[in-house]
Amino acid sequence: MPSAIHIEELTKDYAVGFWRQRPYRALDRLTLEIERGEIFGFLGPNGAGKTTTLKLLMQLIFPTSGRAEILGRPVGDLEVRRRIGYLPENPSFYDYLTAEELLGYFGDLFGYAGADRRKRVSNLLDRVGIGGERRLQLRKFSKGMIQRVGIAQALLNDPEVIFLDEPMSGLDPLGRRDVRALILELRDQGRTVFFSSHILADAEALCRRVAVVAGGRLAAAGALSDILAFQVHGWELVVSGLSPEVLARVQPRVRRATEISVGRYSLELPLDQSPDRMLAELTAVGATLVSLNPIRDTLEDFFMKHVAEMGPGARAPIAEQSRAGH
């Protein structure tokens, strides 16, 4: 059985500038393989090439070179489009339509009609938490509600592969939790989810495997826990009710101690210091645990290090050339 998504040496150059057009490489020879039934996180800071990749997969833009297949067929194939769903980044729809009408319109394009279409639309809007507002024109919707409608339209045809470009964008914490639950539910149904994000925590909560892009190039791929940069390199322990004497006693074992307010401290422990033992010691003398978190690089840290490690040649020559002109 062919893989869900096969990307081979995919490259996209744009021409930038008005009078003297220069090439700008937005994506540089990206190769990826995504298996069926997995949630795959496509990570990278803003401008890394995530949206460019998704647009290439949706054939909203055409590659300069390389190729991509979805479910064993070339991207752009109408039969493939019947089996996929896509949520664009910051989606925008027809503001004169209601949420119900928009989904009805897209449902028509899939050939759904009558009671089947109405039921599908109604169930999906329930599922993404759009209630009585479904009969309001979309011009009256907030950004978060539009995002929910966007997710609903991406699931209209029970897609086998779902592409979500920054699905958490514009959502409040409750909405983010709902979307995470929805993505896990889709995986449990055997669907493939390919989602882009610039937030590492989203990937940690959902993905088995990720790919990280930076400067239009693949910087790392694999299980998140196997990518060295994202491994835990310490602990952040926040405690309250800590006396200065106790702090002075533990200080040699702490990488950094920061006072947040009177008696409340943030203690940064190196990885070889057990947070359990330190916590037991502190609580025994009257301190209270506020929070305990692993410390690891953010995507931005990773990106900065990656570029620094690779040196000036990190970016594709074509991109370097165009940036030098700015």
């Binding site: 896509y86 664009p88 925008s92 729809f93 027809y94 339509l97 394009l109």
Partner: protein, 268 residues
Amino acid sequence: MRAIRVVAVNVFRESVRDRVPYNLVVFAVLLIASSYLIGQLTAGQDVKIIKDLGLAATSIFGLFISIFIGIGLVSKEVERRSIYALLSKPVSRSQFIAGKYAGLVLTLAVNVSVMAIALYVILAYMVWTEPPTIRAGWDAPGLDPALLKAVFLIFVELMLVTAIALFFSTFSTPIVAAVMTFGLYVAGHFNADLKNFEKVVSSQAAARLARGAYHVLPDLSAFDVKTQVVHGLPVTLGYLGSTAAYGLAYVAALVLVSTFIFARRDFK
């Protein structure tokens, strides 16, 4: 075919939601008010003036719809990014273009039909109120079916203008598309003059340029049979058929070129 129909119906719905049908109310009020005023001022000539006015208004109102909706048909979808989700559905870019075009043609067909009916209603009222002696002096009957010939060619001309607007809409901004479409509309009405340009200019290059433009630009004056119809002069079915075929050939070419351009476009 289904994808084209679904996209077309949505264009029609958009035009209704954008209050395009309000122009019909303005049209009806304009026609009723002017027929009343003209009735007060002239004797015997008023039916001709109403026919002239009605047909000219149908043409101008239709032109506004063609240009102002036509220029945004594609560019608005790209600008507001609604095209991203739409093109991920089972609809090809050529079906999208054909659907957009068909939707606006459907809007125009409804508008032109309603305006024609309104014109006939006003004319029926005049026939009913004018004495037989005055009616006998009219060049053509009040409720002349030949008016439909003029309405038909106005509709074909509007289809052509819509195709021009669609063509520019596939690769330029609405303002540029509006200017270009209106420019071509005006040039198209003076196309016949370009044919004989060498008689009025001495420059060979200018004459050749004018001749080239004459062959490329559509001759829109061919679609204007208002004067003949109003004065009861014959407009043959052969003329109607050949002019419509000429217009539809241009439409087909423009929609094809639009599809060709759009099929290769990147949505950055």
